[in-house]
Symmetry: C3
Subunit: 236 residues, 3 copies
């Protein structure tokens, strides 16, 4: 372990047994890591968090999460058990990730969002503030465990603030869901949808940045002259 | 008190005087129970919580709540003063119950929901993630205290994620409000409504579970061959 | 300092260096004040909070905020850095104010709301529960820093629960946005808008309080016989 930078953990944080916290990680005040799920003893399930994590204050991470390098949480984020989370993922302030969620590399989840069990968020997808994904077509149905199916966000899909996704919908690659939209059926790759219920209103190739006059997604679309770079927005 | 199982309280939790916590209850880290409302001295108002409660971390419960047995809170839930709450109720993570709310037995409130003062949630009703009930027809009206009236959810009514209910609307027995709907008028018993503004789109007798091919609410509807059982979803 | 009433700070609260907390202020449990923003050393940026503040439990206020007198936060509110906040402002429970937000005197932000960077909230404006303002027309655009522009709420504008405001929209003086509305373009002063997308449905002069039969905003409208007074709603 010579040369490794230990994690920095606030004195008020509660770290359960069997938590592996990557080197150089920072854990804020009033955080809980390794919270046991119902029926699981403290320390029974491992919690693995990669190097360089920033776990901001009041965040709760259950035992049974496997999280890659470069993870960031906002304040008061909640991650329940049995999630698989890639590298360079951020989960914003007050957002909730339920259990059995599959989150790929470079996914950004902004603030106050809700991602239920059995959802799939593929590489580089983006979830805006207050977005709710859903997975139960008929709440309180006695068979609800048989039909729970979360939405799938294909790579690069983006969901605008306050939008609602119905159970099992698939948001196509690089599609853009407008703020406040209610998505009741699958969205085509590259489509821009809006409204309640959501309808396709244009394609991302038709978008124009008000600041530059250029297409904001020209790098994705393979337009010549691309000069795009990584966005540093932390999604807190 | 021989034979009683005491409550288990995390050392970091703050319990004010005059809190009665039922036997076998569990209180998580960074919880506050008995927080005094404005103008009330600590311990002046009683807080009564029944047996077997699970109060998860970062939850705040004000003095002046009377809560039945089997209560569960998610993480970071907030219950202000003077609420009456029945047995086997759950209030999910980051949800807010204001004051003078009447919540009957077996009500489940999911995550990040908002229930304002003078709302009524009857037996077995269900509130999805991010739902907002409202009670002020005209915010900042100088007479606002005279006209505040919360929605009423009749028994078994279910409100989908991100829906908004306008002040005073009544959601009929076993009705289902779709995700993202904006409900501006009363909803008939058993109706399924969706849209902004919400319109009736079908009746719950017309619903079909995608997993079983059966009506999800056949037990409620009294259809022969019912084999329903209690849903164990914790609504965290 | 003779005669000054010191602040009352819960033992569990974390107060960083270089925080000026006005006399008579009250700070609840599990609060953080002066949290350093990324790349800023603890205590490097000043945090100034005026007299008589009530900072409720689990709230996080970053270093670099300048806040007037009579400030109130709900539980679990989050204010990031570099905001300018006037007198008698309240930020409700679980609400998030990002950075570089300009909030004038007497603004009330209710619960679970989201106000992104570069938003402007003018005197006496009101933001309801679960409202999301947005500032990025095209999330993850590589030029996003060049075009971020938050909404502007003119004096007395009111935004109903769960509404979404698109980047840069201007809500006119005393206008009223209905619950669940998705505002895609500017709103005229005094207009009442609703729907997705939001359309003008009436003028505030046409509103009638169900309790009194009077116009709720007659004081604003200069109608004779005005007897309005300040609303005491704390917006928690």
């Amino acid at each position: 372990m010579s040369g490794a930078t230990p994690a920095t953990i606030a004195p008020s944080a509660r770290i359960y047994p069997n938590v592996q916290l990557g080197e150089g990680s920072v854990v804020g005040d009033f955080v809980i890591i390794g919270e046991p799920a119902r029926g699981v003893a403290p320390g029974e399930a491992a919690t693995v968090i990669g190097a360089g994590a920033v776990i901001r204050s009041h965040t709760v991470i259950y035992a049974g999460n496997v999280i890659g390098a470069g993870f960031q949480s906002g304040h008061g984020a909640l991650l329940r058990e049995s999630n698989t989370i890639g590298d360079n993922v951020s989960v914003g302030s007050h957002s909730i990730i339920e259990h059995h969620v599959d989150i790929a590399d470079r996914v950004r989840i902004h603030s106050q969002a809700f991602v239920p069990e059995y959802s799939t968020l593929k590489r580089g997808s983006w979830v805006g503030p207050g977005v709710r994904l859903t997975n139960a077509p008929h709440p309180l149905c006695p068979d609800v465990q048989r039909c729970l199916v979360g939405p799938t966000l294909e790579a690069g899909a983006k969901i605008g603030a306050n939008a609602s996704l119905l159970p099992g919908v698939r948001i196509g690659e690089n599609a853009l869901v407008g703020a406040g939209a209610v998505v009741t059926r699958d969205v085509e790759p590259g489509a821009v949808v809006a409204g309640n219920p959501a309808r396709t209103v244009k394609h991302i190739r038709d978008l124009v940045c008000p600041a530059t006059g250029l297409n904001p997604y020209r790098a994705i679309l393979g337009v010549p002259g691309d000069d795009s770079d990584d966005d540093d927005h932390a999604g807190r």
